[in-house]
Each structure stands twice: as structure tokens, then as C-alpha cells.
């Protein structure tokens, strides 16, 4: 069997198609975006002088600055909720469901909704959250509330509820993978060394699944930070986060302002990923065995 050695010419040639693709769809557009965000003047042309006026204008508006912080805060709260829920689901699926048939069935039940697009799933929440929606009718039927709760649709609560359902499995998936790689005898060895189940979890299971948690959190972070569709459908016109601002500027043909927000959004996301990589070296995922 012939193998391709590291740093052999063949390995570089094999990387060419992907590299060209990434260059065309990622690198070039980002460079263009950053370039446009510095364009001054009034004309939309490559001859525009480069200034930082667009950024100055953005930061001069307290509403926009507040939006940056509220986007980050919203994302963080979603990371906490999906992180906890996702870990519980992952733990339940891998550790508590013993029968392989049930495990597969439950896993499919969690996964199948992901076959539809995020936008459709976001829209699907509308009939649930409305004043006469499924949730309100159920609550009233159960007598939990007298009048329908209006806070669900077109509110931050509704957005959070929908996004939790959309992104929890993103937080759970990598944890499932990491939990599956934990050998049962590690937990057994800890138990024979007098560790109670709680200690076994905190000292053995959780540290070993931490890379999975971090990857899941990165996925949720990136998706929520860039999710304008859910916010637009569930939040109506009343609520917006940074990505909606990009859309808003774009639709009103303020391409330079849209680029500024897009660049800022990318910087926020980049910082988030760098922090995540500092916490856990996810490149060494599962390598320590």
C-alpha cells in the first residue's frame, strides 16, 4: 500500500482544490468586505478614499453600541441554557439509555428535525408561541394561567425559546462523542478508589468531556451570533440583534454601514473562538488515550 508522506509534493497538490475553493468563497469575500467597510466618499466605487469614518459613525450611535452588547449577552445566555440542556441530553443518551435500539431511536428523534432548514424550523415556532398558540392553549387548558401569555411571540423570551430548541443538539452532539470515548473502567477505577458517583462525574467524566463542551459552545456561539432568521421571524420588527442590523443596512442599500457591522460581528466571533481555544485545546480532541 502506498501512503502519502507528510510534506511530500503530492500532499500539497491534493490540498489545491480545497484551497482554491476556500480562497474564492471565504478569503476574497472577507477581504472585499473589510475593504468596503473603509470606503469613504459618496460614490460606491473602487476609487473611494479609505477612511475610518464608517466606524466612527457606528460607534457614535449609542443604540448600535448597545446592540453589540445585547447581542453578546443574548448569545452568552443561550450558551448557558443550551450547554446545560445539551449536556443533560448527551449524558442521558450515552449513559442512561442502555438498549441500543432505544438509543438509536432517541438519537434519530433528536436529529431528524435538523434535516429541515433553520428558517423553516424557526417559522414553525410561530404557531406554538402566539397568543392563541399551542403553548398558551395548553397552559390555559391545564389552568396554569387565566389569560394567554403575550410574552412568547415577538419577544426576547420567544426568540430564546426557539433558539434553544434549534441549537441544543449542537451543544449536545460533541458531548455525546466525548462521552462515548470515556472507557467504563475509568469510572469504575474511580469508584474502587472510593469516589462517589458525584465525584466520579466532576473529577473524571466532566474533565474528559470538556473539549466536547467547548466545541459545542463554539458552534452555538457562532450560530446564535449570526442567526438573523429566527430573530426576524419570532422577534418580528420589535427585536433585532447585530446580524439583523447587517440585513437592515443591506436592504436600505447602505453597503458601507452593512460591511462595518459585518466586520465587527466577525471580530466578535473571532475573539470568542480564540477564547474557546485558550480554554481547551480542541485540536487534541480524543488524542489523550
Amino acid at each position: 500500500m502506498s501512503t502519502i508522506r507528510v510534506r511530500s509534493p503530492a500532499s500539497y497538490w491534493l490540498a489545491v482544490p480545497a484551497a482554491l475553493w476556500m480562497l474564492g468563497v471565504v478569503v476574497v469575500p472577507i477581504v472585499l468586505l473589510v475593504w468596503v467597510s473603509f470606503w469613504g466618499g459618496r460614490a460606491f466605487s473602487t476609487a473611494s478614499p479609505l477612511t475610518t469614518d464608517n466606524y466612527a459613525r457606528f460607534f457614535a450611535n449609542p443604540t448600535y453600541v448597545k446592540l453589540v452588547f445585547s447581542t453578546i449577552l443574548h448569545t452568552l445566555s443561550l450558551m448557558v441554557v443550551t450547554g446545560v440542556l445539551g449536556y443533560c441530553i448527551a449524558y442521558f443518551l450515552t449513559m442512561k439509555v442502555k438498549s441500543p435500539l432505544w438509543r438509536t431511536a432517541l438519537f434519530l428523534a433528536f436529529i431528524i428535525p435538523f434535516w429541515t432548514s433553520t428558517l423553516i424550523r424557526a417559522i414553525a415556532w410561530v404557531p406554538f408561541l402566539g397568543v392563541n398558540g399551542v403553548i398558551n392553549q395548553t397552559l390555559m387548558f391545564l389552568g396554569a394561567t387565566q389569560s394567554p401569555i403575550e410574552a412568547f411571540l415577538y419577544s426576547r423570551t420567544g426568540i430564546t425559546m426557539a433558539q434553544v430548541s434549534l441549537y441544543t443538539m449542537m451543544a449536545a452532539g460533541p458531548v455525546v462523542y466525548m462521552l462515548n470515548s470515556i472507557a467504563p473502567q475509568w469510572r469504575e477505577a474511580a469508584m474502587t478508589l472510593k469516589a462517589t458517583p458525584f465525584t466520579v462525574f466532576w473529577r473524571i467524566v466532566f474533565p474528559l468531556t470538556l473539549p466536547g463542551v467547548v466545541i459545542g459552545q463554539v458552534l452555538v456561539f457562532l450560530n446564535v451570533m449570526s442567526d438573523f432568521a429566527t430573530v426576524a421571524t419570532i422577534g418580528g420588527n420589535k427585536h433585532a440583534l447585530l446580524p439583523n442590523l447587517v440585513l437592515l443596512f443591506y436592504e436600505s442599500s447602505q453597503l458601507r454601514a452593512a460591511s462595518v457591522v459585518a466586520v465587527l460581528l466577525m471580530i466578535c466571533m473571532l475573539v470568542g473562538v480564540v477564547i474557546a481555544l485558550r480554554v481547551v485545546d480542541i485540536r487534541r480532541l480524543g488524542a489523550e488515550r
Binding site: E188, A189, A190, T192, L193, I204, E288
Partner: protein
Amino acid sequence: MAYESDTKEAVVPARGRRELDLELRSVRKRYGSFTAVDGVSLQVEKGQFVCLLGPSGCGKTTTLRCVAGLEEPDDGDILIGGREVTRDPPWQRDIAMMFQDFALFPHMTVAKQVGFGLEMLKKPRKEIAQRVNQVLTSFEIASLADRKPASLSGGQRQRVALARAMITEPRILLLDEPIGALDYSLRETVMLELKLLQQRTGISFIWVTHDQNEAFSLGDLVVVMNHARIEQQGPPEEILQRPATAFVASFVQGNNVFRGTVKEILAGALAVETPVGAFVVPRPMTGATPALGATVSFSVRAELVTDMLAERHVNRLTATCTAVEYFGSVRRHIFARADGEVLKVDQFGAQAARIAPGQAVQLGWTAQAGVLHLGSPERGPPA
């Protein structure tokens, strides 16, 4: 390995009754319709080295896991140090366990790993550090303190796993094929070290293995298991010299097993008719003598069969040598038997070779050489 236990002293039994570290009373464990452990009873005296020996799937590991509390038996009692623990979880039992692949925690350094047991006992941090240091030094792995398991060799991992299990000074150390993962050349050294360690610390070792060399060279008590049951238990010598069942005889190296029917009952002996001839076998030392016509089995050790026949070699058999092998200091001749099985004849390698492959030889053994097995050969030992 100069491991010294500084807190444990030989405890003199307070009462006249001998103190048991471990007692199993007809322990039974089923998985669905499969019985993994079937009525296993065992008594381990203080500071004994016990080897559970048997082929894979015989229930030896499940028995060990029941003692550890990692499996809960369906029936029977488990007593550790005289205290009933059958329903107790592992963390409430006075045991430690060494796993087959050592089960080192991949995210902890060697020092953290070894100190884990003391941490669980809520010992002060300073004491843990001091004790870990001391144990790492005595196990000659102090230089590895800051390394993680992934960067250790098999032998180093074995030492770390042993140090981790021994540091809490449990009453019983359970070892599941503890040297099976080591290189063959390392095993003998490690075996000797472990035996010395066990003798020095006075901790009872329950050692599970499928390797009879390990079991016979280490165990004070060897327990041979097959099909979820104990076939025979006793000191190594007893099992080697007086195998109780046809299974034990054929499992232990160097036995020739014969099956047949009782043809005649003589004074102190039986004549057994087998497909390859009639042989005289001594009556069993314990238990009832089988009735006339009963199906029985007996075995003769390979070194008791000889080609230098004298008058006392009353049992005779002619067979053709098919191969000659060497086992350490022993030369083993393999003969084809008329019933399709093989007959093994051992000689000291130092003696001159007399039999060559292809040669038909008359062989014989004395009336006292055979060992009659308990129970019928097909149904295993009497319950």
C-alpha cells in the same frame, strides 16, 4: 519495589476463629438467561494470595467484579473482613482494584492519579503530597510524577496503576489479569515483585488469570473455575497432583486424561476399562467409590508415564510418538492414542533422549500414579 506499609501491622485474630478477609457464600450472577457465576463459595484468609484461574468466559472476572461491587450478585452473600457488603457500592468497600488495561485516568498526571485515592479519603493536601512522593519513590516511578499516562510505557503504567491501588492500603487488592498487557519478558519480574509486595504488606490479593503459570507460581490458594462454577480450590500442589475433575486435569498442563467405565473393584483400587485398554487406578482418597459400571475419568501426570518399564508399571499402553517439544527443562513427547487423543510423556531435558518421532513405544505407569476424578466426566463436579 521496596514498598513498606508503615501503618498496617499483623492483626492477631481476637477470637479463636480465624479471621477472613473475604468470604463468598454461594454467589450467583445472571445476565438474562446466561449464568455468569453459579453458586461460588470461597474463603480467603488474612493476607492470602488467591488466584482465580480458568478459561475466558468462566466467570472469574465477574466474580472479581462482584467482590469489588461493580456487579451486584443475584444471590448469595459477600463478606469483606467479616462485614456483609453484598449490597454496598464499590466506594464503601475496603478494596482496591487493578484493571486489566490499568484504567489510568488519561487527564491526570501520575502524581495526581496516585494521590486520587487519598484525596477521596479527605486527607490533608500536605499529607497526600508527602505520601504520594513516598509511594512513587518506593515504586521507582518518582521521575514520572508529572507525566500523563499517554506518554508512559506498559511497564510504567503497570507500576502507576499498582501504586494508585496500593496507596490507600486496602484490606483486599483485586487484580484483573494485571500483567496480561505487559511484554512477555517483563511478566516474570513483575510477578516476583508483586508476590514480595503482597507478602510484605499482608494485603490479600485476589488475582484473576487464565495463565496457569501465574496461578501456580503466585497463589497460596488456586481456584479453578469453569462454566461459572468452581471446579476445584486448593494449594497449587494439590491441584497439580490431585486434579479433582476431568476439566481441571485437562486444563492444567501435563495431565493425560482417560475416560472409561469401572470394570472391577479391587482392594484399594479400581480397574477402569477405556477405549485404549484397562488400567488400575487408586480409589479416591475422599468421597464415595464409584459403583461397578459407572462412567469415570482419571488422569496420569505426563512425568509419571515412562518408557523404562519395570514390574511395578502395571498399566501399559503402546503408542506412536508424533512430536517432541521442549518446555523449559522438560522434554515432552507427544504420542497418538488409539482413541484420537494425545498422550504426553515428560522427561527431564538433561537426560539423554531415547524416543524419536515415528517410533512406536510401550509406555507404562504404576498403579498409584493415576488420580480418579470426582463426579461423572461429562457433568462436571458434584454440586
